[in-house]
Symmetry: C2
Subunit: 682 residues, 2 copies
C-alpha cells in the first residue's frame, strides 16, 4: 500500500477503524472514528483594528469531527473523502500525493458553508517546534498556541509588564507573546520534518497538546506540505527550495555601519563628517525623513508622500552622488500607504488605485493622527503605478536602499480589486508589498545591489525581500520586547527560510517612560557587530534615546565594533552566500550544528553565527560577567583567546567584549583574531 | 396544539422545518434544521485555582448542532428527541411541561460522552436582562457574557485599572467584570419572564447576540424554568416562590450600627464605651477575631479554629451577656475551613470529615500563608459535626450572629464523600455552607433571631441565608470595585431573589497603595444609612484605612447617620417583611416601580428603597453637588424638603446629605421628615 514513486516515501495504512499516514515512517496523521484528525465548522468573527493592533473575537457556531472517511487508492496517490456522519454527503476530500520529496495533502471543500478548519498533526511529548515566521518571545513554540496574523507587535508583548499594560490602557496598543509583524504557517519539528500550510487566512497553531498539534485555519487551506530530512540544515535547505531564498547582500553592505540620521542635508552631512573624522566606517546613511516629516504625540513620524523633499533635504540630488563616490550609500524610506494630503494620494484616487470601503466610498486608515489611503496591489494597474513610484522617485533619484515599512495594516473591511475578502488578503499583503519592491528593483536591473529591509512578512517574503529587520523593539532590557527578543526573532525567521536579519541598534520605542540608556545602546551595538547588518535608529523619540554620537566614548565604541564587523566581512559574506544558495541561515540555533546536544534545543538567547562563531549577547543591565552554555567542542574566547570545552561557563563580559567564541579548528581563525584586535587592541 | 392545563399556557408550534416554543405568546425557543437551538459537544477543561481565584481553559473538541428533532405530543406536555444527523441515535431528549405557571424544560442526556451543552433562548435587540446572582459591574447584562462560577471577586475587577494589573501580576488575584462570590444561572428579562437553569456546573451566559441568549453549561442541566408575569414585582415574587425567601431580620438589627472592632475584650469595650458616650446607637459589636488572629503579608487574618479565644478575649463569656442586656449583640465569624494547626482540623481528620485529594491523601488549601482542610459537607456525619461546632462554639457561647465567610474556594481536584465531581459541587458549596448555618440556627430554635451574613452564594441561598454582604470592595472610588459597585450588587442580588443586602462601610481591601480616606468612609456611611443593615469594617489593613472613630467629626457623623437609619426602622422593617413574604427586594431598580420609564432600565448607581425612597449615592471624590435622574413623580428632597418632578436634576450633596428623595404621597412622610432632622438638625 505504500507509494514508492520517490526516494522519500509516504504511506497510507488502513487500520481496523481508520488509517495512518506516515512520511518516511514518521506518523503524520492518525484517523479513527473515535479520534478523527480533521474538524470542520463555522464561526462568526469580529475583527477590530486600531492602528495596526487587531482584536479578534470568534463566536464558534459549530465544530464537527469528520469521523467517516472513505479511502480511494489512486496508484501513487490517495483520495480520502470525509463525512460527518454515515449518511452525510461528502463535505471535504483530501488528496495525498508525493510532491518532490514531500507529502502534499491538498484539500477540497465541498460544503461551502464551512469556514473553520482544524487538523491535528501527530506529535509526541518530546517534540519541539520552531519557526512560524519571526517569533520574538518563544523560539521553541511547544506548550503555547500561536495566532498567525500579521500586525503591529504591540508596545509590550508581555501582559505582565507595566509598559504593556500602559500601552493597552492608553492606546489599545499592548501586544502579547505571539504578536509579530511576520507570522507564517510553517514550522520545523525536532522529529525532523517541516510542515508548511498554504493559506493566508487567519490561523492559530496550537502546540499545547501532548500527542498532537492542532492547526486551526479560518478557511480551508489549499494544501499542507510535510517534508523530512536527516538534518536541520537539510530541512531549511528543502524548505527554502520551495519558498525561495534571499539574495546575497551587495558588497557595499560591509563597508561599515548604516547610520540612521534625520533632520535635513546639513545635519546629516555634519553628523557624517564628525563620524568619519572619528574613524567610523560608514556603509550608508539612512534618512527616513528624506521625504519630509511630521511630529505627532507618538514622536517623530514621516510625511508619507514618497518623493524627495527638497525643503528639508536641499541639494540631496547632488549629495547622494558625492556620498556614493565616498563609498557611502544613501538609503530612504517608503511604505505602501499614501497620505491624504499628498499628491500621490490624489493621483491614486483619481485613477482608482486605492482600496475602497465596502460601500464603495473612500477608505482612510488612521496611522496615528494622520490618515492614508491603501494602494490596492491586487489591482494590476495600481501595482504597476506604485512600482513606478519606487523606480522614479527612489531608484532613479539615487537611493540604494530603503526601509520598506509596514504591510501589516490591511484592514479587514476593505473592498479589493481582485474580489477576495480583505480577511484573506491581510496576511498576503506583506509578501505582495515585498514583491512590489522586488519587481521595481529587478526591473531597474538593480537586484542584488539595492537593499530594502522589511519587518512585515509572510509566506513568499523569502524570495522577495533581501533583508529582515526585527521591527520596533522597546528601548529596554525586557525579554519580550527589548534587546533579548531580537535573538529568537532572528532564529525563528531563519527556521522559516529568512536567514538574513538585523535590528535597530538600541531599539526603537521609548513610550511610557522607557528611555534608551547608554549601556543598552552599547550592548546592542556589541551584538549587532555579529549580525549581517549594523544599522542605527534614533528611536521614535530621539530626545529620550541615547544616540551613537551621544558622547565621544560612545562614538569611539561604535568605531571599534564597526571595525570588528568590517573585519569579519569575508566570513559574513560566505555565510550570506550560503544562505542565498542553500537557505541555511546566517544566525543559527545551537542545535542546528549540534543536533545531539539536548540542552541546545532550549537555548534562545545565544546563537551561532555560521558554524564557527557562537554569540551570547549580554541582555541584562549592569552585568560584568555572563553565563554561557557551550556545546561540546573546542572553543576559543573571542577576546581573551582563552580555550573552552563545552558546558556551562561564566566569562568576563565588559562592554566591547560580548561573550563570543569561535571554534578552534575554524579556517577563519586568523580573521577572528584580527577582528578581536579591533576592539581589544593589542 | 397548545397545552392549556393552566392559566399560563405554553405552546409548541410545529412549522415546516422545525418548531417554536412559546410561553404566553412569548417566543422562548426556535428550532429549525438551519438554525437549531441546542448544541452539544465535549471539551477538556483545565482549572487552576490560586487562593480562590480560578483560571479556566477549555479545549473544545466538538460542538455539534442538534438539527434533527422528533416531537411527541403527550397531551399536556411534549417530548422532543434530538439527533445530530438523520441516521444518528437520539443523543438528547427534552420534556416540555407545565410546572405551576412555568414552562419546565427537562433534559435527558443519552450520549454520556457529551459534557458541553449550549441552548439558545430567543431574544430581540431591545431586551435587557438582570440578575445572575450578585453582579458588581453590570446590572443590565446585555452585550456581555457572564461566566458563572463562585470565586474571589478579584482585587480589582477591571483590567484597565492599575490595582487590577498589580493584583494580577503580583498575586494572580486580579478579577474581571464578571467575577463574583455569588453567581447564579438565573435571570430576569425585560420581556417579562425569568429564566432559571437548574445546574451547579460551570456555566457561561452569553448575552452578546442580537436575537438569542446562548447559555453554555459544562454538563447537561436538570431543567430550565421559564415563567412570565405582568410586572417585575410579580416576577421576583414568582421566582422567590420557587427559590425561597430570606426571613425577616430580627428587631435588634435596627437598634443601631454594627461596629466591626477587633483586638480583644478591653479594646472592644473601650471603643464601644467611647462610641456610646458620643451617642452612637449600636446594634451589635462584630468581632471577627473572637477566635484569634494572625498577621500575614495580606494584612490581619483570623485564626480559623472556631472557638472562643480566651487569651485574646478574656471574660468574653461574661461580657457577651452584659452587652446583650444593654441591647448590644455580639457577632463573630466562621467559615467552612479548619486550619491545620487547630484542634478542629485534628478532630475532623481523625473522623474522616475532610475532603481528600484524588489519590486519597490529605488535601490542604492555601489561604495565603496558612493552610486549611475542607470540611466535606457532602458527608452527612461531617455536616452534622460542623453544625454542632456552630451550635456549641458559637450559638451556645452566646453569639447572635456572624459573618459566614467564604464558600467560594472548593478546589476542583478534591474527592468528595458523595462521589460527585468537585467541579459539579464547587458552585453548590455556598448554598451548602449556608444550609449548615441555617440548620444549626434552626435546630437551636433561633431562626429569625440570629443573623449570619454571607458573600458567597448560588441557587438555594435565598432560603438559607438571612443577609448578604457585598464582599470585599476596594477602599476606593472605582466603579467596578469601590463604593459604587455595591449598588448594582444589591440590585442584581435582588433580581435573583436575595433582597436583603449590605456592605462593609468604607470597603475592605487596601492593597497596592489603596488607602481608605475619611471622605470615602463618610460617603459610604451616608449610603449605608439607606440599606437594611449598617456595619463597619476595619479593612484588611486597618492602619491604611480611616476608621469610624478616626476623629471626633467622623464619629459624630456616624452618630447622625445611624440616627437616620434607626429613625427609618419602621419603614425598613416593612420592606424587609415584604421581602420575606413576597420576595420583593428592599433595594429595587428604578424600573421595578416605574416600568414605563425607558431610561430607568439603564440606571445602576441609583436605587429605590422600597416604593417611596430614591437613593442616588455620591460615588465620586470631591463632589459638592450630584446629578440625579428622577422618574416622573412627585418627589421631595430628603434634606431640604424641596419638591421635584421627574427628569435630570442636580442637587447639593454635602456629606451627611446624600441625594435621597421621597415620594410626596408616601404614608411614611412624617417619618422621613423626622429622619432627615437627625442629620440636618432643625
Amino acid at each position: 500500500m505504500s507509494a514508492t514513486t520517490s526516494v522519500t516515501a509516504f504511506n497510507v495504512i488502513e487500520k481496523k477503524e481508520g488509517f495512518e499516514v506516515r512520511l518516511d515512517g514518521r506518523l503524520v496523521f492518525e484517523h479513527s472514528m473515535n479520534r478523527p484528525f480533521i474538524f470542520v465548522g463555522s464561526g462568526e468573527e469580529t475583527i477590530d483594528m486600531y492602528r495596526g493592533n487587531f482584536k479578534f473575537e470568534d463566536y464558534l457556531i459549530e465544530r464537527v469531527p469528520l469521523r467517516y472517511a472513505a479511502i480511494t487508492n489512486l496508484g501513487d496517490s490517495y483520495e480520502i473523502s470525509f463525512r460527518r456522519f454515515s449518511d452525510d454527503k461528502d463535505v471535504l476530500s483530501i488528496h495525498l500525493g508525493q510532491d518532490g520529496d514531500a507529502l502534499k495533502t491538498a484539500f477540497h471543500l465541498k460544503d461551502k458553508s464551512l469556514n473553520r478548519f482544524w487538523i491535528r498533526v501527530t506529535s509526541d511529548k518530546e517534540e519541539k517546534v520552531y519557526g512560524c515566521g519571526e517569533q520574538l518571545s518563544y523560539f521553541n513554540m511547544r506548550g503555547k498556541n500561536f495566532p498567525l496574523w500579521t500586525s503591529e507587535p504591540g508596545v509590550g508583548r508581555n501582559k505582565n509588564t507595566y509598559t504593556t499594560w500602559q500601552a493597552d490602557v492608553k492606546d489599545q496598543a499592548g501586544g502579547d507573546y505571539y504578536n509579530t509583524n511576520f507570522p507564517q504557517p510553517t514550522f520545523i519539528s525536532t522529529n525532523k520534518y517541516f510542515c508548511h500550510v498554504e493559506t493566508t487566512a487567519y490561523a492559530d497553531f496550537d502546540f499545547r497538546h501532548e500527542d498532537f498539534h492542532e492547526l486551526q485555519i479560518w478557511g480551508i487551506p489549499s494544501y499542507i506540505l510535510f517534508e523530512g530530512a536527516p538534518t536541520y540544515k537539510k530541512l531549511v535547505n528543502r524548505l527554502t527550495a520551495r519558498l525561495g531564498r534571499q539574495p546575497e547582500l551587495p558588497d557595499w553592505t560591509y563597508n561599515g555601519i548604516w547610520l540612521g540620521i534625520q533632520g535635513g542635508t546639513d545635519l546629516v552631512e555634519e553628523k557624517l563628517e564628525r563620524s568619519l573624522k572619528k574613524g567610523l566606517k560608514v556603509g550608508a546613511v539612512w534618512c527616513q525623513d528624506w521625504q519630509g516629516k511630521r511630529v505627532t504625540s507618538f514622536g517623530k513620524r514621516l510625511m508619507w508622500n514618497w518623493q524627495w523633499n527638497p525643503e528639508e533635504y536641499p541639494n540631496l540630488d547632488k549629495k547622494i552622488h558625492e556620498w556614493k563616490e565616498q563609498g557611502i550609500r544613501f538609503l530612504g524610506y517608503i511604505n505602501p500607504y499614501v497620505v491624504k494630503e499628498g499628491h500621490l494620494y490624489k493621483e491614486a484616487k483619481q485613477n482608482g488605485f486605492l482600496a475602497m470601503a465596502e460601500d464603495g466610498g473612500d477608505y482612510l486608515v488612521d496611522f496615528g493622527e494622520f490618515y492614508c489611503g491603501v494602494v490596492d496591489f491586487t489591482n494590476e494597474e495600481a501595482y504597476r503605478w506604485y512600482k513606478s513610484v519606487i523606480k522614479d522617485n527612489l531608484i532613479d533619484f539615487g537611493l540604494d536602499g530603503w526601509m520598506a515599512d509596514f504591510g501589516e495594516y490591511l484592514p479587514t473591511d476593505l473592498k479589493l480589486s481582485n474580489g477576495k475578502p480583505a480577511t484573506i488578503m491581510h496576511n498576503a499583503w506583506p509578501a505582495l508589498w515585498a514583491k512590489v519592491n522586488h519587481d521595481a528593483v529587478k526591473e531597474a536591473g538593480r537586484w542584488g545591489d539595492i537593499v530594502y529591509f522589511m519587518r512585515a512578512g509572510y509566506t513568499g517574503i523569502q524570495a522577495t525581500c533581501p533583508l529582515l529587520w526585527a521591527g520596533d523593539q522597546s528601548v529596554n532590557w525586557s525579554l519580550d520586547d527589548g534587546l533579548a527578543s531580537v535573538i529568537p526573532a532572528a532564529l525563528s525567521a531563519g527556521m522559516t527560510g529568512c536567514g538574513i536579519h538585523h535590528s535597530d541598534i538600541g531599539g526603537y520605542t521609548s513610550l511610557h517612560g522607557n528611555k534608551r540608556t547608554k549601556e543598552l545602546l552599547l550592548r546592542w551595538v556589541d551584538m549587532a557587530a555579529f549580525t549581517p547588518v549594523m544599522r542605527t535608529h534614533e528611536g521614535n523619540r530621539p530626545d529620550d534615546c541615547f544616540q551613537y554620537d551621544g558622547d565621544d566614548e560612545t562614538l569611539d565604541h561604535f568605531v571599534k565594533m564597526t571595525n570588528v564587523y568590517v573585519t569579519l566581512a569575508p566570513y559574513m559574506k560566505m555565510l550570506v552566500k550560503q544562505n542565498a544558495e542553500e537557505g541555511i541561515p546566517v544566525q543559527r540555533p545551537l542545535f542546528m550544528e549540534y543536533e545531539k546536544d539536548v540542552r541546545s534545543y532550549d537555548i534562545q538567547y545565544q546563537y551561532l553565527l555560521g558554524t564557527d562563531i557562537l554569540v551570547a549577547p549580554v541582555h541584562e543591565e549592569g552585568k560584568t560577567t555572563w553565563k554561557v552554555y557551550l556545546p561540546e567542542d573546542d572553543w576559543v574566547h573571542f577576546w581573551s583567546g582563552e580555550a573552552y570545552k563545552g558546558g556551562d561557563i561564566e566569562v568576563d563580559a565588559p562592554i566591547g567584549q560580548p561573550p563570543v567564541f569561535y571554534r578552534k579548528t575554524s579556517s577563519y581563525r586568523e580573521l577572528f583574531v584580527k577582528a578581536a584586535q579591533e576592539s581589544v587592541g593589542k
